[in-house]
Amino acid sequence: MVLQPAERHCGDWSHRRLGPWCSPTGSPAPLSCETGCGEGTWILVCRLLVPTQVSLLSMEEDIDTRKINNSFLRDHSYATEEHFRLASFSLPSSLLHWSKPPPSRTWTVVMTYQQDYLSPCLYPLSALSDIISTVEFNHTGELLATGDKGGRVVIFQREQESKNQVHRRGEYNVYSTFQSHEPEFDYLKSLEIEEKINKIRWLPQQNAAYFLLSTNDKTVKLWKVSERDKRPEGYNLKDEEGRLRDPATITTLRVPVLRPMDLMVEATPRRVFANAHTYHINSISVNSDYETYMSADDLRINLWNFEITNQSFNIVDIKPANMEELTEVITAAEFHPHHCNTFVYSSSKGTIRLCDMRASALCDRHTKFFEEPEDPSNRSFFSEIISSISDVKFSHSGRYIMTRDYLTVKVWDLNMENRPIETYQVHDYLRSKLCSLYENDCIFDKFECVWNGSDSVIMTGSYNNFFRMFDRNTKRDVTLEASRENSKPRAILKPRKVCVGGKRRKDEISVDSLDFSKKILHTAWHPSENIIAVAATNNLYIFQDKVN
């Protein structure tokens, strides 16, 4: 398999040329991208549980005792869209119109992939294995991949628009699921290697199949997800059941024909990139040339070619000669969206380095160094820890980078290194609680941040299942909650507020009653539309900006 930048001729994307020598043409689909977050309202599209058998038996979540309806799985025989929807939700067609109120029962989808969920002994999964650890839309937004702590990847596909239900977009259904990584044991160190999926990154689509990279702490894998809806029939040497025929009984020859079959989605591992990282991989990033990608661990960054699995180039190495002198680690890294020679990486000391691979083979000397001087009035014991950057993301335009540290999100202009151009307080009310948060380890939580398709709104998560959106143009922000209790389908999300001190108004939550075990670390934003996916522990919420 050789990946070549190529023109795509299918679907809406034929007008896009992919390649490092040009920037993507075409603006994101208009819709409500430009309305920003303050003016639109967000509704819950669907809530999906990451499918495991154990989620039914988990003692942590409320057990959903409704009967499982397996029929909506793509593996089964529901080939047509109509049949698909009606079989899974059993809704009368009149309710499928946008303006009708939703049925009284919540259509939260609980899925399981083990057919026989009544015999738990066959699947000894840990109760925590369904905590979602990464969420990522693909480049078109048609697919949404989630990875969980149990090493599984679940891919959701957006429902196709049809003429009848043109408003019923934004719903995602399970497309494929597979076990990406297994737990391993490092015999040398007598330590387990977690199978938790740290990151998933999609490759741009080159042909009918989809490709994604998934990684755990040590190994990166390239997966191919493809559909099969035809199979050959009429073999000469085999009969219909596959048994070999006695050649003596064959009297005529025929040409096998392809006949339609039930749609099957299969995932196959195409490449395994292993044994290149001594420390834990925290980031992977696909280069804009679509031939290489990088994987970053705590101290090193490696550059890979997709075709070559037994070699990688080390492009950054910050391991000191004497490990006692180690004071800084790499926390995140990403390639520039258009310039295939440029990448950034962030550190635990709150700095970002931009490197140019053309300068030298080992990019230990940065081209640009982004650091904000410390605010002396905010100094505390925890200044260094809360300045540690947990995520760094380039804007789609490639002109800005966004960084997330414990209490803030910052937007930096690549042309200005001495301070960010914008700083947004995510949950500044936690500043007085840092000692307790240090004690219970919450201060080490790694929140991610995302841009919307037009780079006008940024989003990040917080505690108590809250997530925040900041509109960079209007400077307005909103806090929303992803919770089961107050989320009926099509329900409008109500903005939440945390009160810091003094009188607590109705509907406000006081800082002391925040639940720090419910944290939203992983979110994703559709590349062109206002659809977001929010992972709250083992629940995945999909919200859409309501278009009036």
């Binding site: 977690e194 490990m323 100094r379 014991f381 609680k433 000692c435």
Partner: protein, 316 residues
């Protein structure tokens, strides 16, 4: 009353201790600053050494905790060198003279002294607190560890400051958090609380370091293997070796404190020290001030120093 100053945000629910840290120049808040620093130091040590992961511990977390410990150590070192008048050296010296248990009683009375410099005493207690973990953990040889552990850790108050379970620790944390809105004297009295509670397990004190040691020993090889270059252990020995007993106790002794009756007489066994003149002590202790002390030698040095002091006592 803490928490009402201009530098802090007024919030009756806010933990003044956890709020913005004021510079240690204010009198009463100095104690809270030192308390918090001590608390954070202990939390950090617990995080590093009590954690038993099945998988490799996160390097980022370890690095951040180590940096925190280093910073606190630097601060303590600076404070130690900035204060030539070191009144707290009397309790440690007294503690050094006494075998078991009494040293743990030294700290609370020393701590409860009103003004002269409560922060300094807290600093001394903090320094002592530094020392025990360092001496516990620096010594990689289990044999030396075993033989020296009953003597040394009991001599130094700090195991009392490292509570065995997190529960008592959180309660200590809560007590400390409650401290700030109250007056200094109440603070100091309450500060006695956690220390008093832990020190009342005086006989338990020798057991706890051993417990820590046992917990640490099977752990140590694991930690040492899991992090390249013995990052955790040697890093801690690296930064805590500088802070030897020598530097703190004998560097600049303020002889006036030896005449300070409330300080010395507050502890029962310290009365033994009263007949000793300050000059005699200086003479006995001076030879040691220039000695560079290796990590494993503090215990041996204590014994020889004890001999000398006993000679002085018997001699007079």
């Amino acid at each position: 009353m803490l928490g009402k100053g201009g530098k802090r945000k007024f919030d009756e629910h806010e933990d003044g201790l956890e709020g913005k840290i004021v510079s240690p120049s204010d009198g009463p808040s100095k104690v809270s600053y030192t308390l918090q620093r001590q608390t954070i130091f202990n939390i950090s040590l617990m995080k590093l050494y009590n954690h038993r992961p099945l998988t490799e511990p996160s390097l980022q977390k370890t690095v951040l905790i180590n940096n925190m410990l280093r910073r606190i150590q630097e601060e303590l070192k600076q404070e130690g060198s900035l204060r030539p008048a070191f009144p707290a050296s009397a309790p440690p010296a007294a503690a050094a003279a006494d075998p078991l248990g009494s040293s743990s009683r030294e700290a609370p009375p020393a701590f409860s002294q009103p003004a002269p410099a409560p922060c300094e005493l807290g600093g001394a207690a903090a320094l002592e607190a530094c020392l025990t973990p360092a001496s516990l953990l620096e010594d990689d040889d289990p044999d030396t560890f075993c033989t020296s552990s009953p003597a040394a850790p009991a001599r130094l108050a700090p195991p009392a400051l490292l509570p065995p379970e997190k529960d008592s620790f959180s309660s200590a944390l809560d007590e400390i958090e409650e401290l700030c809105p109250t007056s200094t004297s109440t603070e100091a009295a309450e500060a006695d609380g956690p220390k008093g509670d832990s020190s009342s397990g005086g006989p338990g004190a020798p057991q706890r370091p051993e417990g820590l040691q046992e917990g640490g020993r099977p752990e140590d090889p694991k930690l040492m293997d899991s992090l390249p270059g013995n990052f955790e252990i040697t890093a801690s020995t690296g930064f805590l070796t500088d802070l030897t007993l020598d530097d703190i106790l004998f560097a600049d002794i303020d002889t006036s404190m030896y005449d300070f009756d409330p300080c010395t007489s507050a502890s029962g066994t310290a009365s033994k020290m009263s007949p000793v003149s300050a000059d005699d002590l200086l003479k006995t202790l001076a030879p040691y001030s220039s000695q560079p002390v290796a990590p494993s030698q503090p215990f041996k040095m204590d014994l020889t120093e004890l001999d000398h002091i006993m000679e002085v006592l018997v001699g007079s």
